[in-house]
Amino acid sequence: MKDEGRRKSACGPSEARSRRARASGGGAPRALIKDAVTGTALWVLLLTIAAAAQQVAVRPARIISLIPAVTEMLFAVGAGEQVVGVGSFDRYPPQVEKLPRVGALLDPDLEKMLSLRPDLVVIYGSQTDLQQQLERAKVPLFIYRHAGLADVTKTMRELGGRVGRGQEADAAAARVEAALDAVGRSVKGRTKPRVLLVFDREAGALRGIYASGGVGFLHDIIELAGGTNVFADVQRQSVQAGTELILARRPDVILELRLGTLGEAAARAVRSDWDAIPAVPAVRNGRVVLIADERMRVPGPRVAEAARLIAETLHPDAFK
């Protein structure tokens, strides 16, 4: 308020003087006009810098996120209003449907991004070209790396601090952690089934099967939800599993992630592909489960819901 007043008093007289100068049309008043213009310009410049500095330091107002998990986190920590652009694969929360799309991992649209005048862009750690381009354009960055379950809340907190929502982020992360703990407690002490989690497979055949290895948030979810990943020993996010390997690892439950929900008949057909290897306990005991749930593909704030879903699937008795 004090600032405002001083600014008025500084501008007021000089404007009056310049008007007078114009009216008389002399040589000396020209200097006065110059003074006035410079003065005003200086003030405007100062205010802009102050405002910009404050914004960068405290709360970016125009955030772009290329990563579905991070977009969900931004909304979860109360920074949804600040998001002005999202990646091609963002589906949640529903508000993102109205936001401009700026490409994804392989095809980021730099021009579109810059046209949105972002003051923070969240990109993948592997997007090194994009990182250089944005750095050259002096756009502040938050670099995201895909990792395990524990990193979800860690990233939420870091991100919260960065977008000026530290407290909300702490609270949201704590809620996710509490929900994850609750899932862990509810299946504690139960016999752990051996789980094969398939996230991709050729249609109509037991070929091109990709399963979760012993690294990554899907593996962590299986273990938290009271299962044992049959490929826990493979230090990779994904394993290409041939039929021999699956027969040898003898999973008790096969969880197959699907992109879309299927009708009853189609689902039965998909499950029946596994009948070619009936010696696998999961097949023999009818424990091949199709899961068409987006939450299983996004390591964001909804991981606890995903973990609970898996826990319910592995231990239906525990949730009666």
Partner: protein, 334 residues
């Protein structure tokens, strides 16, 4: 020189024994130890017998697929090299592989899940893609010629390869990540068929192709002297070329639909065999088929055991062995 019959008998016996040994040994080894007595124990129900399922569901179809695909690609290689009179020709030179790749990729990207004859969508679409590619190349090669111009055939084939590859990249660019990866993986070749249907489906196609190959041995010998002198020795050159092109394409298309475009078999096997048995197609063709079978079964055994439990794509193994060999062959020719 010994007579062609003796050489044929000796090389078929030799390479046949090699192929038989590979096919018999390969199902015994793998990433898991299995107990052979349990495998053949009839008193255990099959549904509960893990060892038997590993043997009969995982390993045996895969070994047989290796044998069939190896034999088809190696002999198709011989046929294409004879037809184009070019030692660097392969079964994939004339656009067949990229045609099938386009078909397979569309099936993967658009999530087609239809099935016919017990076959899933990907092999069906890949075979259809091969037929389209072969049809276009064949039509082009005939369009400006009364007969079949091998030059046009070669140029059209190479161009179709480039064109289909561009289409593949174009569609891939808009596909999602998992689908792109699956297409890429399909291109590396995979023999884990895990069912006998896809093998049985290739039997009529390959029987027709191999019957044509048997007939082609003599015409290909004469064609190697040039079309004019072949003509003067009473060969219907156009008919021989057409048969060679269509039967070679049929064998290649069938093989690719089973296992994806596994590279280098079609070039290193024919050349190795020629080094051993000479250039007579009557011996080279059967010997290549047998050696190709043995080689691919061996490569697949390596693929599934060297880094187990992680499997190396079999096409990567054949290329790692085939690439250096191919270069050596080039330098040696120069």
């Amino acid at each position: 020189m010994t007579g062609v019959r003796t050489r044929l008998a000796v090389s078929v016996a030799g390479f046949g024994a090699l192929a038989a040994a590979a096919i018999l040994f390969a199902p015994l080894a793998g990433s898991t130890d299995i107990d052979l007595r349990r495998v053949f124990d009839r008193s255990l129900p099959f549904a509960d017998n893990t060892d038997a399922q590993i043997f009969f569901v995982a390993r045996l179809p895969r070994t047989l697929a290796g044998a069939v695909v190896g034999a088809a690609l190696a002999s198709a290689g011989v046929v294409f090299q004879g037809l184009l009179r070019n030692p660097l020709a392969t079964p994939f030179t004339l656009g067949i592989s990229s045609g099938s790749a386009l078909g397979a990729m569309l099936a993967i990207t658009w999530g087609w899940s239809f099935a016919a004859l017990g076959l899933p969508a990907v092999p069906l679409a890949s075979f259809a893609g091969a037929i389209v590619a072969v049809g276009i190349v064949y039509w082009l090669a005939r369009a400006r010629h009364a007969g079949l111009s091998t030059n046009v055939l070669l140029l059209a084939g190479v161009t179709m390869n480039a064109f289909f590859s561009a289409l593949i990249l174009f569609v891939q660019y808009f596909a999602d990540f998992a689908q792109t990866y699956r297409t890429l993986r399909w291109l590396m070749g995979d023999l884990d068929v895990s069912s006998y249907e896809s093998l049985i489906a290739t039997v009529p196609l390959l029987t027709a192709a191999f019957a044509a190959f048997a007939w082609l041995a003599r015409p290909l010998n004469l064609l190697s002297l040039g079309p004019d002198s072949a003509e003067s020795r009473g060969i219907d050159v156009v008919r021989a070329q057409r048969t060679a092109f269509l039967s070679g394409s049929l064998a290649t298309g069938a093989a690719v639909s089973v296992a994806g475009p596994i590279g280098f078999i079609g070039i290193i096997i024919p050349h190795l065999v020629r080094l051993i048995v000479g250039a007579d197609h009557r011996v080279v063709l059967p010997a290549s088929a047998l050696f190709g079978a043995a080689f691919l079964v061996g490569c697949d055994l390596l693929a599934r055991t060297v880094m187990s439990p992680i499997e190396v794509p079999v096409g990567v193994i054949t290329a790692l062995i085939g690439g250096p060999f191919f270069l050596w062959l080039l330098v040696r020719k120069g």
